[in-house]
């Protein structure tokens, strides 16, 4: 299973990659914003995207909408991991087609639980 972690903070990418490795997901790639992630997704296949929201120039929310509008990518499972924890954020993300939503800070158990909910039987 190949996972793309998208976050503008290298620290967070490193933490999520480490957690994923501990959870048994060894094939993890990284992107520092939505536009880089979109390029990577169009040139390579990923089974799951775990993305931050607040990034520049392209946010995770914009990435999500781009992915859902792309015929080749629209079925890719997408989890937002973000400090944006207002109701309107979650509602907007759901409408845009996010599969699950994790509020920062989070722990390994929460991450595993959300991955299982999005891709049952993995890990």
């Amino acid at each position: 299973m190949r996972i793309l972690v998208v976050d503008d903070y290298s620290t967070m990418r490193r933490i999520i990659r480490n957690l994923l490795n501990q959870l048994g997901y060894a094939d993890v790639d990284e992107a520092e914003d939505g536009s880089v992630a979109l390029q990577k997704m169009r040139s390579s296949n990923y089974n799951l995207v775990i993305s931050d929201w607040n990034m520049e120039p392209m946010t995770g929310y914009e990435l999500l909408k781009e992915v859902r509008a792309d015929d080749k990518l629209k079925t890719t499972p997408f989890i937002l991991v973000t400090a944006e924890s207002k109701t309107e954020n979650v509602v907007a993300a759901r409408k845009a087609g996010v599969d699950n939503y994790i509020v920062k800070p989070f722990n390994a158990a929460t991450l595993q639980q959300k991955i299982n909910a999005v891709i049952p039987g993995q890990a």
């Binding site: 620290t11 967070m12 933490i15 480490n18 400090a83 924890s85 207002k86 979650v90 759901r94 939503y101």
Partner: protein
């Protein structure tokens, strides 16, 4: 003809005037009468003016004039004070060292420093994880190895604070940059260049306040080796560096940027889970 029967009219007036004007004495009487009555009117006007002047001087009456004068004085004082306040925000002698700009740079430095420290902590935690794995393979107590690995994971997760605090700090930095733009606009409008700065009573009054500026920014200050050389007398005291304006990246945050923060209206993970159930 009695007073009761008399009815005044213009005809009577003309008739009497004509009768008086017929003789020199009558004409003299009319001129003198007019002169004396004119003088009486002038005296009344002068007396009224005197009363008016007296009331202004004594503070009674004419309050509108006094209020207007005081308002103008207060406005003038406020304008001077505002110019001084703005000048204090952006000192004329060190244009690159405005208080807002200094605060912004300090916050940028905090973000950089915490990012570096977090990276070091992460490296140590990852090393602990590897050591726990190595110890397991060498036959060490599995329970202890697991505990070390778990604690290393806790350390990793705790490092996510850097993401949150970094975003909060970035939000403050953007607000400061926005304020700086507005202050610069005010400076242009008010033209405070050269205005004498007001002394702030809440300023640092410690005798050595001029020596205290906190940790230096990147590229400022000296290294420990330099300190050692200075302490041992192997180096001479460096000359004071010229004031240097450090250029800042200046994004144009006209509208308040959307930031990741906790605030009223936030919901927790369990509530989000119910939305996705």
């Amino acid at each position: 003809m009695t007073n009761a029967a008399f009815v005044a009219s213009d005809d009577y007036y003309d008739e009497i005037e004509a009768a008086i004007l017929e003789t020199p004495r009558g004409r003299w009487f009319l001129r003198e009468y007019a002169r004396r009555n004119q003088g009486a009117d002038t005296d009344r006007v002068l007396k009224a003016l005197h009363d008016l002047r007296h009331s202004v001087v004594s503070g009674t009456g004419m309050s509108h004039v006094e209020i207007l004068r005081r308002e103008l004085q207060e406005m003038s004082h406020s304008i001077v004070q505002t110019r001084q306040e703005i000048a204090a925000i952006k000192p004329a002698d060190h244009p690159g060292n405005s208080r807002i700009m200094v605060a912004t740079e300090e916050l940028d430095a905090i973000v950089t420093a915490t990012e570096r420290a977090t990276s070091d902590i992460l490296t140590a935690a990852e090393r602990l994880q590897l050591l726990a794995d190595d110890l397991t393979t060498t036959g060490a107590d599995q329970r202890l190895c697991d505990e070390v690995a778990n604690l290393a994971t806790h350390i990793l997760m705790a490092c996510s604070f850097q993401d949150i605090t970094g975003q909060r700090t970035t939000k403050v930095v953007n607000v400061l940059r926005y304020l700086e733009q507005r202050v610069n606009a005010m400076i242009e409008i008010w033209g405070v260049e050269g205005v004498k700065q007001r002394l702030f009573p809440d300023g640092d009054k410690r005798p050595d306040a001029h020596l205290i500026s906190g940790p230096p920014r990147e590229g400022e200050g000296i290294l420990q080796d330099d300190v050692d050389r200075l302490m041992s007398g192997d180096a001479t005291e460096p000359e004071a560096p010229a004031a240097q304006a450090i250029p800042l990246k200046r994004p144009e945050p006209e509208a308040a940027p959307v930031m990741e923060t906790e605030s009223a209206g936030d919901i927790d993970q369990s509530e989000i889970d119910r939305l996705f159930a």
